[in-house]
Amino acid sequence: MLPFLKIMLRNLFLGPSTDPFPFAPAKTHENFRGCAVFDPEKCILCGICRHVCAAGAIQLRASEDGSGMQYLLWHNSCVFCGMCAHYCPTGALTMSNNWHLVHAGADRFANCISGFVRYGECSQCGAKIQPRPPVIADKLGKHSPDRFLLCPKCKRQSIAMNVAQARPLFRQDVS
């Protein structure tokens, strides 16, 4: 009891050390891992985020008319681990530092982020391919830009024409 008297007197002089929240905004570090943010413009529908998600919070559902996929991330199942943002190759999924996610119980299934990602189109035959957002086109398509926007069938044909050019079967001087 007696050694504590010094601490008590010191506490009286130092005053309260309480954070002023909720009467003033709370300090949030910019590296704080809050909820996820999805950018449909950059998504290539690889599905890595769905594969690594620790809690199974991410769903990719094909739309009925077949023009794209619906991306859904349910905040009430997300454990904010950040693996999806770490593994996303294009940076479509990032972790913001927003933690003000309190909501009423009735809204628990509406508390999700969703985005519609449209399929890309093959520049030759018009078939549906995975989307090719500009950020990917600049990074990966530099090597052979004309082949980058083709569907797999057209790409195979293009490679075959490059590799195996038409050659005459017989030598020219045979007559």
């Binding site: 009891m1 008297l5 506490n11 130092l14």
Partner: protein
């Protein structure tokens, strides 16, 4: 007729009843606020206990099916009315002379255990094992802290009585202190004052002696099954008990008012009395709560038997020898 009217006024308005309730809730709020400041927190507003009581009146009352319903409902009523009567009987220096014939140390010795009895009855009537545990702990602690209380009473009585025997009447003890100075500054009575300082948190169940209502151990003990207005009555009982115990300590050791005789100085004397109660509260309850944890039951018992009772008995012995 006027006696009955005066008695009713004393029990319902001043100094029992509304005054004791208001003072008790204010002291409890001050204790919580001071505890928070000692722990470098902001703490609740001073009138927080009043809000607690108002909130408890809006909850529904649940009674366990296997509980003894009469005893369950009777326990808080018994405790609260007993404490209100006790508060009406205690004299305040310069303000209120007490009820003649009832301001006696023996009467107080009968009236002071009533809240503990209320808690014990509550624990027993709850038909829950935690309630029974709380009941036995409360009984054990009551035996423990009554010892220094009785020894202090006897020490004060013998000291005040002097050569002509002992004086048990509180107004007479206070008159002696008006004449020869407070007993707090009397070196013979200092050990008894220290014993009473430890008695206050012991009987209130705070700090070191939060044994019958220990939260992690017996989950609120006797009060486990209470909810709503009955729990509000228990909290009010605890508040009035705090007032009674502090006023008793002040009356025994330092009742001197600012200006003796009452009259126009009644309000000043009352304010001085409240200040004294507040300072005693901070010293005895708040500092203990901030600095210490909780003792085990046997450690608490041994503390009272081995440490505080010898102090009070030493005072009694010296007063006896020097009379």
């Amino acid at each position: 007729m006027t006696d009955i009217a005066e008695a009713v006024f004393a029990i319902l308005i001043f100094p029992g009843g509304l005054f004791a309730l208001a003072l008790g809730l204010f002291l409890k709020g001050a204790d919580r606020k001071a505890l928070a400041r000692l722990q470098r927190r902001v703490g609740p507003p001073l009138y927080q206990p009043v809000l607690d009581i108002i909130k408890l009146l809006t909850k529904e009352t649940l009674i366990p099916t296997t509980a003894n319903e009469t005893a369950f409902l009777l326990a808080p009523v018994l405790g609260l009315t007993g404490m209100l009567v006790t508060a009406a009987v205690l004299p305040i220096g310069g303000v209120y002379g007490g009820v003649p014939g009832l301001g006696d140390l023996l009467v107080l010795l009968y009236l002071l255990p009533i809240p503990a009895m209320g808690l014990m009855l509550a624990g027993g009537a709850s038909s829950s094992p935690y309630g029974a545990l709380g009941f036995s702990r409360e009984m054990c602690m009551m035996f423990a802290y009554e010892m220094p209380l009785i020894a202090t009473f006897l020490a004060v009585a013998v000291r005040v009585g002097g050569a002509s025997g002992s004086l048990l009447s509180l107004p007479a003890i206070m008159d002696y202190q008006y004449r020869t100075g407070p007993l707090l500054f009397d070196p013979v009575m200092l050990p008894a004052a220290l014993a009473l300082l430890f008695f206050i948190p012991g009987t209130m169940g705070h700090g070191l002696f939060d044994i019958p209502e220990a939260e992690p151990e017996v989950i609120e003990g006797p009060l486990l099954e209470y909810s709503g207005p009955l729990l509000a009555m228990f909290h009010l009982m605890s508040a009035v008990k705090l007032v009674v115990v502090l006023e008793l300590a002040v009356a025994l050791f330092f009742p001197n008012p600012l200006v003796a005789g009452g009259g126009g100085w009644v309000l000043a004397n009352l304010a001085w009395h409240v200040c004294k109660c507040l300072v005693l509260l901070m010293l005895s309850v708040t500092c203990f709560r901030a600095a210490t944890g909780r003792l085990r039951l046997d450690q608490g018992f041994k503390f009272f038997v081995k440490f505080t009772s010898p102090l009070a008995l030493a005072s009694l012995g010296m007063a006896f020898i020097l009379r």
